[in-house]
Symmetry: C2
Subunit: 115 residues, 2 copies
Amino acid sequence: MTDCIFCKIIKGEIPAKFVYQDELMVGFYDISPKAPVHVLVMPKKHLESLRSVNDGEKDLMGEVILTVHNVAKKLGIDKGGYKVVINNGEGAGQLVFHLHLHLLGGWNKSPGWQV
Amino acid sequence: MTDCIFCKIIKGEIPAKFVYQDELMVGFYDISPKAPVHVLVMPKKHLESLRSVNDGEKDLMGEVILTVHNVAKKLGIDKGGYKVVINNGEGAGQLVFHLHLHLLGGWNKSPGWQV
């Protein structure tokens, strides 16, 4: 997608602070962090949101879940606990329409908000 | 797990308002909803959190992501937008230690909170 800001970050056309990269996935810091550690993990493949995922993406979805945990481990926030948030659609607060998982953690005691 | 409240719900030993059930997955309403629609979707298999998932569960993780979207569609909250939240560990607000995905939606305008 030529107009997608995350696709541009993935292609290196816009800078970001990467924490993870492999053939299928990337992870980089959110520029407006909502937690002491706030990273976005996503497939390189442009999918708008979970609403545009079908059975053919099952493998990729399994991979992104495993990746988000691996990134949490790499950043040392797995033991203290972490949240994963996926916003799907404008009405749910999605701002960039390239499917991404928010990985949040690193709190001193607790997140201070609960779902 | 004999002491797990979600395992007991899955086995029918404790009542819950189910919205989805298949061989591998269940979905039922959260008893303390944080959104107009708040459902918990999870594998029947007892896994504590994403922290206890390994490569062998990749397929199951792909399946749970597809399931959460199918449940959103079934409940008619996909078009308006929905959030998926996974709390991993006590420090992230996890209350029941059986991996589950919070599916939240059905807001009139917006969730009123943002991550």
